[in-house]
């Protein structure tokens, strides 16, 4: 076992219904793709271990339902997320237009401490299809305008960029999860053995 502390990252995937969220997750976790379309109702949870800079990181991926009527699973669902992945379908321009409102929805619900620097990643999915309708340039421009959100073009079907995209997601989330020494005031346990103690009878310089 590694001596480094374990990390678990909560990753939320959002985007319109049918853009390929569940497929991307399945490709990443199970290396499988299915053409059958089954709508996610409510939520799915998957976990996967990845290695980032020698650290073992467990990604806890929360896949949501995109349908209108299930749009809000509520604050609780978004609470304490480490990263948010926004997905659109490059062949469906309306799914690209929705990104803005998905991002807003997330920021409102999750209300992260530092919304400007919260790690998002945008995935333009289904690049294997011919009938592309949103250009890479257009997507990139939008991402740049939002504090330079990383952008990947993916295909869950042909496993294009999926691994890379999720690696980036893990890395960025981890970077945000800085080991801030917030809790320094936590008093450490001090141990002294009897001999030291005898030598140092009057010392108030105990190592606290």
């Amino acid at each position: 076992m590694s001596s480094r502390k374990k990390v678990l990252l909560k990753v939320i995937i959002l985007g319109d219904s049918g853009v390929g969220k569940t497929s991307l997750m399945n490709q990443f976790v199970n290396k499988k793709f299915s053409n059958q379309y089954k709508a996610t109702i409510g939520a799915d949870f998957l976990t996967k271990e990845v290695i980032v800079d020698d650290r073992i990181v467990t990604m806890q991926i929360w896949d949501t339902a995109g349908q209108e009527r299930f749009q809000s699973l509520g604050v609780a669902f978004y609470r304490g997320a480490d990263c948010c992945v926004l997905v659109f379908d490059v062949t469906a321009p309306n799914t690209f237009k929705s990104l803005e409102s998905w991002r807003d929805e997330f920021l409102i619900q999750a209300s992260p401490r530092d919304p400007d620097h919260f790690p998002f990643v945008i995935l333009g999915n289904k690049v294997d299809l011919d009938n592309r309708a949103v250009s890479a340039k257009r997507a990139q421009q939008w991402c740049q305008s939002k504090n330079d959100i990383p952008y990947f073009e993916t295909s869950a079907k042909e496993a294009v960029n999926v691994e890379l995209a999720f690696q980036t997601i893990a890395r960025n989330a981890l970077a945000q999860e800085t080991e801030a020494e917030l809790y320094n005031e936590f008093p450490d346990q001090i141990k002294l053995n009897a001999n030291d103690n005898n030598r140092n009878r009057d010392g108030d310089n105990c190592a606290c």
Binding site: K10, T22, K38, T47, L73, V75, G80, Q189, D204, C206
Partner: protein, 554 residues
């Protein structure tokens, strides 16, 4: 199967009448808080969604009270209290999703991945599971298996809890199936879940979860726990708790077999009255000038030997249980004097006491805890400890403690059933309510405890096979149902008598005590009651040995 009678007992036994004479073990002064743990947890169960968020933060700090009383308010210990409501109602949004939508209807692959692990030998067929997660759904602790691999399950649990909370404005308390109970407890920023296939009641399970929560608080303080999640809701609490998982593991094992938890009482090491007096006065004479000392506690083998306290302050049994657990779980205390911060949640959840913890000597496995509000009192306390140890040795108290610990055959308390001389009695357990102390006929000895723990490390599995010779633990398991009937909030029973071909069990609660007795099978009721009367007289006779009957202060 159980016949209960509320009026039967009054005329049978005089001990029920508090004016006549005090029930065995009762005294006017108590070192322990006689709070009934069941009442407390009934309150827990009845708490409302709105009430819940506040009651973790409203308690005032006993530690700062003591500090201001002794006139030195150390800045270091002052902790700001959080006022933020953890469940911010304004944020809650309503939605039309119904519970059934949480079912995973998509991706057979995704389902099977989680299911596979849930069916692995590490997890399957366990009698009880306990999971602790943050309110963001991040895993913090699991009794069995690897919490990382249970992240998916934690997501599901969080979703269940929050859907009921946000959409129905209600609290999810339990899910009961034919052979399994799942209870849910949301405490501050944490969600605790217990799933049990045993005969424990919901209340008993909630009690165990509350203990697990208090164990975490004991390591971090409630103030710090709340603050961490106010600042970072995504915090992975395992970072701060690394090392404390062991404490929670041990606590859960401990609770499965020690009736002290079931009854909210503390077990005392039986000692001759004079010996206990000598020990207490050795502590008082050594420590009375150390003015920041709040408690001096001597324990051995999960039993209390004595507790000397600062005037006005008493300890809750559950805080003592956490101290027992800490000492039992920390091998390092055996090799060195330790100076460690300890938060006692019932005493003051907002701050740390500082504890000098050490075993009295190499040849006596009694552990002395000196708890103070001073963070730099190691040396004076270390000196006090050595003085106390010398005094105890010179007055042969260490020998007496060892005799009791080794269950010397010459002591009447070592094998009480033999001395009572009622062959039909197989086992009994008695709690004196006013002093929150407990005595059983077959105290769990340390080595057997070790065996049990080893068995549980490997197993903890549901066992179907019948055991031939019952141990204390097994009797206690049998008492659980009786205990919950007696403490049932809606229609509490005062006396339960159940006789069948396996055994006869009598459970009886009065204003002063609780008593559980196991007899031979098919015992007649009036015979049993006469036996109980004799038993109570024996306990009364021995009370000065088996209970601490005074409440000494520095």
């Amino acid at each position: 199967m159980a016949s209960t009678s509320k009026d039967n007992m009054q005329n049978i036994c005089s001990h029920d009448n508090p004016e006549k004479d005090l029930e065995p073990g009762a005294s006017h002064d108590s070192i322990l808080n006689p709070t009934d743990s069941f009442e407390e947890f009934a309150t827990e169960m009845n708490s409302s969604l709105e009430g819940r968020a506040t009651d973790v933060t409203k308690k005032s700090s006993t530690i700062s009270e003591i500090q201001s009383e002794i006139g030195e308010c150390s800045k270091a210990l002052k902790e700001t209290k959080s006022s933020e409501n953890l469940l911010n109602k304004d944020e809650a949004i309503s939605s039309s999703v119904s519970n059934s939508n949480l079912q995973e209807q998509n991706g057979d692959d995704t389902e099977s991945e989680l299911d596979d692990y849930l069916k692995s030998p590490e997890l399957v067929n366990k009698e009880k599971h306990v999971f602790i997660l943050s309110s963001a759904g991040k895993p913090i602790y699991t009794r069995y298996g690897n919490e990382d691999k249970l992240a998916g399950l934690c997501g599901v649990i969080q979703a269940l809890v929050s859907v009921v909370e946000e959409q129905n404005r209600d609290i999810l308390r339990s899910i009961i199936t034919k052979d399994c109970k799942a209870v849910f407890l949301v405490k501050g920023p944490l969600i605790l879940v217990g799933m049990s296939k045993s005969n424990e009641s919901e209340t008993q399970l909630v009690l165990q979860l509350t203990y697990a929560f208090n164990q975490i608080v004991s390591v971090l303080t409630l103030t710090q726990l709340n603050r961490i999640f106010e600042q970072r809701r995504n915090y992975d609490l395992r970072r701060l708790l690394s090392g404390a998982e062991r404490l929670i593991d041990n606590l859960l094992i401990f609770m499965e077999k020690d009736p002290a938890f079931l009854l909210g009482a503390v077990r005392c090491l039986p000692l001759p009255e004079k010996v206990r007096e000598n020990i207490t006065s050795a502590i008082i004479s050594t420590c009375h000038k150390i003015r920041d000392l709040v408690f001096a506690i001597l324990i051995a083998g999960n039993q209390l030997i004595t507790l000397v306290r600062m005037k006005k302050y008493t300890l809750h049994p559950s805080d003592i249980h956490l101290l027992f657990n800490l000492v039992r779980s920390s091998e390092s205390f055996k090799t060195a004097e330790s100076w460690t911060p300890i938060c006692l949640p019932k005493f003051d959840a907002t701050g740390f006491l500082h504890g000098h913890v050490s075993y009295i000597s190499e040849d006596c496995q009694a552990c002395l805890l000196l708890l103070t509000v001073q963070r730099d009192a190691f040396y004076p306390l270390s000196q006090a400890k050595h003085t106390i140890a010398d005094k105890l040795r010179r007055s042969y108290c260490l020998t007496a403690i060892n005799d009791a610990l080794n269950r010397n055959k010459d002591l009447t308390t070592t094998n009480p059933l033999k001395h009572i001389g009622i062959p039909e009695i197989r086992h009994f357990m008695y709690k004196c309510k006013s002093t929150a102390q407990l005595f059983t006929s077959d105290p769990i000895s340390l080595d057997r405890l070790q065996d049990y723990r080893q068995r549980h490390k490997e197993g903890g599995d549901v066992v179907k096979k019948k055991v031939e010779k019952l141990s204390d633990m097994d009797y206690v398991r049998n008492y659980r149902e009786f205990c919950s009937k007696i403490h049932c909030a809606r229609s509490p029973a005062k006396l339960i008598f159940r006789s069948n071909s396996e055994d006869t069990i009598l459970a009886w609660i009065t204003n002063g005590f609780e008593l559980y007795v196991t007899f031979d099978p098919l015992m007649e009721k009036d015979l049993a009651i006469r036996a109980v009367d004799r038993l109570l007289r024996w306990i009364k006779n021995e009370e000065k040995r088996i209970f601490i009957m005074n409440a000494p202060t520095f």
